[in-house]
Structure formats: C-alpha cells, structure tokens
Amino acid sequence: MRATASERPPGEPRLVGYLYLLPALVAFTAFVLVPLGRAVWLSFYDWDGVTPGTWTGLDNYAELFSEEALRGAFAHALVLLFFYALLPVGIGLLLAGLVARARVRGLAFFRTVLFLPQVIALVVVAVMWRMIYDPGSGALNELLRTFGLGSLTQSWLGDFNLALPAVGVVGTWVWFGLAMVLLMAGVQKIPASLYDAARVDGAGMVREFFAVTLPALRGEIAVALTLTTIAALRNFDLIYITTKGGPGDATSVPAFQVYDRAFQTGEVGSAAAIGIALTAIIFCFSFVINRTAERGYAL
C-alpha cells in the first residue's frame, strides 16, 4: 500500500466532490448570488433607475437608522413577528399538547380544516380579510352587531392603533395551521412510554407538557419558528393589498418600503439597502433559532 493512499480517506478524492456540486452551483450563482451581489452594489448608490447613479457609500444604510419612516417599518416588522411567528407556534403547541393527552375523534378532518388557510394564495387571503374587516358591511362588524355588541365595532384597517394588529391577526390565521400540523406530527412520534412514565411519576397535564412534549418537539418548533419568522419579516402581499402601509405609516413594513422605493418613488439604492438589511436580519434570526434549538438552551 502506498503512503499517499493511506493518508486520504477511502473513495474518490475530496476535490471531485465539488465537481458534482458544480451544476447546482452554477444555477445558484446565476440566479441568487449574482443578483444579490448586484443588489449590494446598487445599495451604495443614489440611483433613480434611469439616470446615472451617484456613489454615496454607506449613506443608504445610515438612513435605515436616521429616517423615522424606516425605523418605524422595522419596528412594525417586529410587532408582526409576534403575530406571525410566536402566536401561531404558541397556538400550535397548545393544540399539539391537547392531542398528546387525549384521543380526538375526526382529527384528520380538523387538521385539514385548520390547515386550509395555508393552501389559499395570500393574495386571496388578503382580499378576503379586507372584506371581512370592512367597517360598514364586513363580516366581523356584522357579527358583533348580531350579538348586540355594536359598540365594539371598529374601523379595523383604518384605525391608527388597530390596523397593525388587525393585519397581524390575518397572519396568525394563515400560519397557525402550518405550526399545528408540524407540531402534531412531532407529538405523534413521541413514544407513549414516556407519557406513561411521566404519569407513573405523578405528573399532571401541565407538568407532562413541559417535561415530555415540549423537549421532544424542539426540532419541530425550530422549523415552525424559522418558517414563520421569515414570513413575518418579509411580509409584503398582505400589507400591499389590505392597507398599502396606511393609515399614515401605521402598517408600513420593510418589504413594502423596498417595493415602494424601487418601483414608485425612484429610490433604487435605498430600496436595495433595505432589502440587504432585511436579508441580514432574517439570516440572523434563522441562525439564532436553529442554533438555540440544536444546543437545547432556553426552549
């Protein structure tokens, strides 16, 4: 046996592996990396999309902190994070915990119904909720009036304080089905013996949830949180169709600002900078969520 052969692990030489990656890498480069690099490049310019741009260095990024409208947009995204990610996963956990405890008749049926919002195109969801929220003839206010709660009716999307939560609730409605299905699937693979053991040890319903169900679902929770967090932060279609960022700037979010600046107001550089910042934030969130889940802290 020659010395060289024994030094490397068995099989093909390592470098050949990159050759197998090449086709995918070419596509990835052409359609993801190049546009991304181009966006980074544009973010250093003040450019209206037509006339020659001027190099402004990091000005567009400084604006993210100095311009109130942009700070507001990012703050709104954080609020939506609660409605799009935390709430759906919380509801999903609750349902999963209940399923773990008891046999539910017609589970498949309920699961399908609750998952339905995920299947509908977001544009359709948005148009539908806009109708539901209509102050005059929308289903929500009509319902309140039917039960004699006319005093509670609101201009849901037109009120400066209510508009953001109102859009957020739509997100909760869309995403809790996904969280629930993921987590229920996770619960079903937990060995029944664990629950039996917990019960023998005298654990109640709550104790059982925290001692058995929750730790076993760590992986699923991470997946659900990652998906919903990304959806929350890059949320565009719901806002565009329901409120267009209004009233005032009450529901403006970063992705909407990207669209508005790039296509409406001719601030392409600023739009690119917001997009890049948003990408970085989403990356950080996903990274932290997955790291935490892997190492098993906190959760």
Partner: protein, 450 residues
C-alpha cells in the same frame, strides 16, 4: 478544505460584481434643446416605406380598449406600409416596466409615459424621450388643447423644471374630479360652497351619508382635499406649487384653510363613517346603490355609475365661494403618448400620435364612452350622465380652470401627501401640522434640486 470554500465564496462575490459599473450609464444623453428647436415638415407617412411601430400603451379597459383598437386599425388601413405592434399593459404594470423597457436596447417607438416627475420627468432626465415641439409646430397641436393640458406634458431638457419647456407627449382623454350627486335626493344643485355645506348638513339631519368616501387605499383623500383646495386657493397658486415654481409653498393660509374645512367635514360626520377603513370601491358602489347624497370622484367612474344609476345620477364641479364665478376643479388628462429617443421612425411615430388626437379621433373617443381632451363635435356628445361631464369639461377648459394633481409635485409626493391626509382626517394631526409637514417633505426635494 475550508479555504477552498472560502475562496469559492470570494470568487462568486467577485463574479457577481464584475461588470457592475455605475448603474444607469449615461449613453443616452443628447442635446435635447437643439432637437426641440429644429423645424420639421409634416411627415409623409405613405412615403416612409415599410415601418413597424412598437407601441406600449395601457388602454386596456372597456371604452379605452375599444377606441385604441379602432384607431390603430384605421391608421394601418390609411397607411398599409405601417404595422403597429401593440403591447398592452395595465396602468400599474406599465409604470413599473416602462423605465427598463425604454432604456433597454430594443426600446419601443411610442410609449405612454405618465405625467409628472416620477415617470416622465425621470425619463426626460435620462434623455430617453424625444421632444415633440417641431412636430407640434408642423401639425398645429397647440390649437388642440387648453394651455394647462399641454403644460402638463412639458419638461425642461434636463428634466428639472416641470410644466414648462419642451413638449414630450400628447394625451387623448380628459379627466375631471368632480361631484357626482344623487338626483333623487338633490333637487337643486348647490351654487356655492356654502350652499353645498348646508346640503351636507341637511343630508346628515336626514340620517343619510352626505359624502360617500372610502380612504383605505390612501389616494382618494388627495382628491377630496384638492377639490376643496380649488375653492380656497387660486388656481395659479396651486399650479405654481405643483410645478415647483419659485416661492410656491404648501404651508400657505389657503392650504391650511382647505385642510381645516376638510377636517371640519370629517368631524361633523359628513363622510362615510370609518372612511379610513373603507375601500374606494365599496364606497362608490354604495353610492351607486343609492346610499349617500354626493360622491367626490373622477370621471373614470362615469361608465359604471351611468350603467347602474341611469337617470338618477348627475355630475357637477365643486361650486366656488361665489355664485357664477369661474370654475376650478382638479383634473388632467390621460397618459400622454410620447416618442422614445431610440425610435428609428420618429416621423411615423409623430404622425401616429397626431392620428390618435385629431378631430376624427375625438369623435371616435366620444363614441366609445370616453371624454376627449380636445374639442369634439356637438353631434358626437352622448346623452345622460356623460352629457353633464362633456359640458363641465367644456366650461372648465374655457375658463382654463383645471388644477393638476398635487401628487405630480415630487417623486415621493404621493406617499407624503396620502399618508398625511389620512392622519389629518383621522384627527392625528391638526391642519397647521399637516401643511407644515407636507411642506417639509417638499422642501427636502427642492433642496436636492438646487
């Protein structure tokens, strides 16, 4: 092996950056002033040989689509050597893709470029549109329109001055934002603004909705505000502001007065309850079903309202402070047809634009339920609601009383203004804060210009 990965990553980032010069390189710059000053003969299209004219328009709905199809067919029939390749897009799609299309290598010959700084101004700045002044001279376009209608399509060669300078396009249709009223509830048209307000109070007392209004989409508020502004400020003052002329300001007493009036109306319950949460479409649809006394909206609703309300709906301009005074109303014209600088057949393109806007075209426009921007023969005017609109358009142009949309003012003004009006009407800001805030946004733009 780690460095391989890192090296590869660096390589890809570099690859991504290669070929990136400064965006929007300056190869279109031409001497526009010189081009605008030259004189041309009226082009002879029949002698131009085989020409394919690529046209990007947004005339895709109902009557708009019918008129452009008829006129395109007629033009090709008259000049068999010309083929029109039409690319039809919705208004929003056109606005979003136009800049890329016009600056690309296969630019269309004729495009509809929306008035104002955001679209037309940017294209002029980039040297992408050809000035039409020589053709205007040759074809006599100046007599076809009232002055403001031409000014709206004018820019200086560098794209910095709006409303003055070279002519870059011609529009086919007129547009007014006025007051639709329900004839079964309004027996006599109010002749003054005061009488109009009294009528609003009367409607309120009857338990009806005085003005149907839905502002969830943010832009309708601009129309309400400017319709009132036309009665508190002079038309010159508003035009000066929109064209960003020296010394013009939004933070003027007349502008505050309009804001006060509008907020008063909102507080007095003259608008649909919860208007900030009500969509534009539901609001006018409720008006069409007979709820509400008035609707402040544009002539784009004429076809729908006419169909649904028939005899029961009328159209008038917002009355001014004094009876019988010259009318002032918000309005403008449809997207102008412009010629790109890259077009190889500018003469044929100019003849095409002439064909779309001559007096025969005006008749076709009237026959297809549109409001021609140019004068139209008496016999072509339809009856019913459109007759009201034609009459008011004529009266308005005779008095030169059109005021342009405020959102033309700066590239970001639509956002600045629509959001501020939602806040004003929602009681989040007072009229003084509103005007000074909007002026602040305008000042930012003005500072950059200088």
């Amino acid at each position: 092996m780690r460095w391989h990965v890192r090296g590869a990553a660096v390589g890809f980032v570099l690859a991504a950056l290669v070929g990136c010069g400064s965006p929007g390189s300056d190869d279109n710059a031409q001497d526009q002033g010189e081009q605008a000053d030259r004189t041309v003969e009226k082009p002879d299209v029949a002698a131009a040989g085989d020409v394919t004219l690529t046209v990007w328009d947004q005339e895709v709905r109902g009557g708009q689509a019918r008129q452009i199809k008829r006129l395109n067919a007629a033009f090709q029939e008259q000049y068999p050597n010309v083929t029109i390749k039409r690319v039809a897009r919705s208004f929003e799609d056109l606005n979003k893709t136009l800049k890329l299309a016009v600056s690309g290598p296969n630019a269309p010959d004729v495009v509809q470029a929306n008035q104002g700084r955001p679209v037309m101004g940017t294209l002029v700045k980039g040297g992408l549109l050809a000035p039409l002044d020589p053709y205007a001279e040759a074809f006599g376009w100046g007599d076809r329109y009232s002055d403001l209608l031409l000014d709206l399509n004018r820019f200086s060669s560098d794209g910095n001055t709006f409303g003055d300078g070279n002519l870059y396009g011609l529009s086919q249709m007129g547009e007014i934002v006025g007051v639709f009223y329900n004839k079964t509830k309004v027996s006599e048209k109010p002749a003054t603004l005061e009488a109009f307000e009294a009528s609003l109070q009367e409607a309120k007392d009857d338990g009806d909705i005085p003005i149907q209004f839905g502002n969830l989409d943010a832009w309708p508020g601009i129309h309400e505000y400017e319709t009132v502004l036309g009665q508190t400020a002079s038309k010159e003052q508003i035009r000066d502001f929109v064209f960003a002329r020296e010394g013009a300001s939004f933070d003027a007493p007349e502008f505050v007065e309009a804001a006060e009036k509008l907020q008063e109306w909102a507080d007095a319950g003259y608008f649909t309850p919860d208007f900030n949460g009500t969509g534009y479409d539901p609001a006018w649809q409720r008006f069409a079903k007979g709820q509400g006394r008035y609707l402040i909206a544009g002539t784009w609703l004429v076809a729908d309202l006419n169909e649904q309300m028939g005899e029961d709906v009328g159209f008038m301009l917002m009355p001014g402070a004094e009876e019988g005074g010259d009318p002032v109303a918000l309005g403008g014209e449809s997207l102008p047809f412009a010629i790109t600088s890259k077009s190889e057949h500018p003469d044929v393109a100019a003849a095409y634009i002439d064909f779309l806007t001559n007096s025969d075209a005006a008749t076709v426009l009237a026959e297809t339920d549109n409001l021609p921007a140019m004068p139209v023969e008496e016999s072509a005017i339809p009856s019913g609601l459109p007759a009201d609109v034609f009459a008011e358009w004529g009266r308005l142009n005779e008095a030169d009383g059109l005021i342009p949309y405020l959102d033309y003012t700066t590239p970001t003004f639509f956002d600045d203004l629509s959001g501020a009006i939602q806040e004003l009407l929602g009681g989040k800001s007072d009229p003084q804060e509103f005007t000074s805030g909007v002026q602040g946004a305008f000042q930012e733009f003005a500072d950059q210009q200088r």
